[in-house]
Symmetry: D2
Subunit: 284 residues, 4 copies
């Protein structure tokens, strides 16, 4: 098995830390034990940190609230960069009027609202408004009827040649120690294959996600890619994306990748983290 | 545009005709006008014919009933070869006991029943019976709750390493002149991608479907592949599968492939039918 | 690790045995030690056997010669079923005149020759004969210049909408204990992707390969699928194909799948052999 | 057919123009007639422009030389952003010592040289230096022996788990009005499939390419994405990439996408440019 390193020794070499949320800071049971110490240390050392997450089901404010509830009071919405924020930027820049149809909860749709656009759940699209639908955003796997609304999406996209944004590239996400749930990224794959089209995907490992975070950091301090560390539990999103963007990366064993299988998976995929740690806990 | 040929001139050169059902004999409006004359002619000429269909949602008897209702009284269940029959053969040969879980209507499950096996809808799988589930069959896109049962299927297949049979390879099927519906083959693709597994698929263009039909014909008369004509409306199932199996093929314009786009599609896909006809109607 | 079974105990339950060649009977070092005893036993017991191979680089006669040289004198060309034989059957049935262009050695092309057709290496296609080229067959990764001939193939298939047959579905094959070579199936994938077309592939796991063998057996003796055992070293060709066709299957550890990784791979792929044996040697 | 717009009317609305090179500014015959007027106009109006190209076969200096030779003297190497520059940035940031093996011409390798690293053609990798190889870069389809070096790459990547960078994502590129050539991106696909790994790809439509250009522009002037126009001839690289990054896009008919097929392709792919023009020529 691979020899892991001490997370504090690594963190001390960087000015800015990007964290994945699920599998690094929290999991289906709540806070990863000890992670409160990591954020206390980062605050004390005045290091910048961002949570870079493929979770587009809630707004940054709601995501920050979630961290407060599990014992991380200092994580603010300004620390959070979600794939949903890139979906919103796309709509701001590229869709100027009409209706944005969506798959997801009302909550998830709330924060993609942008001036001049009207958001509407796919279930409410009908013959009288279909011609005003100028974009479709897939936000979350909940909040809609899969049978009727997925069939409706296929036919909407056959009639209206509009941009379709997938705000979460994950295929599935963990529900408990043994069960997973199909994510909206998996559903989006199915609809792309049926239609023979390619949707616009935001989320790790895509570099636009890292660039969005990098731009935010640079507004606050002069910093290069060499000063930033990406911490994640998933090889093909966090580590692949971080590596490609030019960041050093840490794989931790508190989520998707177990210590027992890390070596096999790293060899099979060719995705090699700069460092490996048991957890992202700073233990002093 | 490509010059089409007269269907009767072609049929006269073959002893056995294989027909696709949907888009050739019938469509969402009912019988393709004039097709009753084709079957009268085939009966009069004592030519053998089979309907080779990816429809696993109903039994051959029910499918034959459907033909009777639209005015084709002489099509018997013995004329029908469906991908569901291959699923049943697989279970007969390879699964010897326990439960066969299924996605589909009760009707679709009825005819995959085989001695020694108990069929059960995915919704009824639970902790007490999951260890007896020895196969999963995906039959139809209706008859179950997509959200709860597709998530259940993903977790069933993570716990039980069992054969999964997809009895319909189509991604979507037409509902009306403008709308389509997602087929169980499209759903199966999504679950395969999420799990990283390859399911067992029966249905055109797979040659096992044509072989099943070819074996049935040869039980009744000595015949070679050169004596058989495959008639279909879809390039990548009927025509590709027929060509690969070594049969001559006819593309008709009464279904999936419109006269206006046939040439473009044939060039783009490289799937070239032996003949092209407007319809499969024998007009005397 | 999985408990393996004795090969003789399994063989005794079947009338007909299908063997993969490479990784089961022989490997890059020559005969798998002891395999001569298996064929002596099968001959003594009057069991039928066939070698079902994706090797289209040589004719059945040449393949049989290869077995004689490593100490298996009783394997005749009639025992051998190769994907190249299916390519030849396709040409016989579906291509009636003109030139068949090929990638491969002269040897490999020799046995796809069929009456009325002229075979020509891709390198010899030029403006004066390109219009007579009515099919392309990819036989082997040797015998041609990759740079010039693969580029030529791409442009040939852009100008001539002809059937393209891939007579070996393997992506790579072993050269030594540590090195592999790119196979023609891997090259064919690249060209398909560039052109956006789907070629006609013969070879395991495709059922047409098993059907060809099954038809040959039934010409000699009345036999059902339950009487046939498929023996292979590769999950996604031998075992997947055998299972799907309805045969019982044995995985052996003398080739592609090592004892140490079999369990992981079986779980990851969902391809489950009926039995697992260390080797296909019958030891009495 | 779609009504095209006047390129000058569009250009006048933006401060910065990104151009694709091949199919927009030049093609296999040389300069696209009239394009010299476009650059004269941009210079006169003091608009910034960049050439954003997937061509990693030569350095920006050599690419600029090429533009000078066809009559565009004012295009400097500082105007050029190539996927090869991203490969170099990756090596600078992520590979600190040892050998960088490459596929391509000596020329293409020259400009990825970076301090501390030694570049070596794949042909010169052997048992004595393989352990020092810390990265592989695929630059160009020329300059190496396809048969021996592609097989060598497969075995190199089986032994050394190193980052592999593909500096050109194109599958093929045009050679003349009727012929194309296989590009290194197509070859990379084949090797990824054989190995089951995912390489690091730089080049349009990936957003890292656009971000690199966007960062360069912002060093010189304060500018937002709304001020930038992307001009290209290819839907799935220039237009898809530009759209996703949030830029307005122009499709021109001087390259990959013909006027006669634009509407069909836009509908089939769902990739919709903001504008369509016959050419990128500013005609006053």
């Amino acid at each position: 098995m691979i020899q892991t390193q001490n997370f504090k020794d690594i963190v001390d070499q960087y000015k800015v830390i990007f964290f994945d949320a699920f599998g690094v800071i929290k999991n289906y049971r709540g806070l990863v034990p000890g992670m409160e110490k990591t954020f206390e240390y980062l605050d004390a050392e005045k290091k910048k940190y961002y949570i870079v997450t493929n979770d587009a089901s809630r707004s940054p404010i709601q995501l920050a609230d979630g961290f407060h509830k599990i014992g991380l009071p200092n994580i603010k919405y300004g620390h959070i960069i979600s794939s949903g924020m890139l979906a919103k930027e796309y709509l701001d820049l590229k869709v100027h009027d009409g209706i944005v149809a969506y798959l997801g909860t009302t909550n998830s749709a709330h924060y993609i609202e942008t001036s001049g656009l009207h958001t509407l759940p796919v279930s409410q699209i009908n013959d009288s408004n279909i011609d005003q639908v100028n974009a479709l955003v897939m936000l979350d796997d909940e909040g809609f009827n899969w049978f009727s609304d997925l069939n409706k999406v296929v036919n909407l996209l056959r009639r209206r040649n509009i941009p379709t944004i997938v705000a979460n590239t994950d295929l599935a996400y963990p529900l408990s120690s043994k069960d997973v749930a199909i994510a909206i990224g998996g559903i989006a794959n199915m609809i792309e294959t049926i239609l023979g089209k390619k949707f616009i995907r935001f989320g790790k490992p895509d570099s636009q996600m890292f660039m969005f975070a990098y731009d935010l950091v640079r507004e606050k301090m002069p910093v290069g890619k060499k000063d930033i560390l990406m911490v994640g539990d998933t090889l093909h999103t966090d580590i692949l994306g971080g590596n490609k963007f030019g960041l050093d990366t840490v794989l931790v064993y508190t989520g998707n990748t177990l210590a027992t299988e890390a070596e096999t998976r790293i060899n099979a995929t060719g995705i090699v983290p700069t460092y490996i740690c048991d957890t992202a806990v700073v233990d002093m």
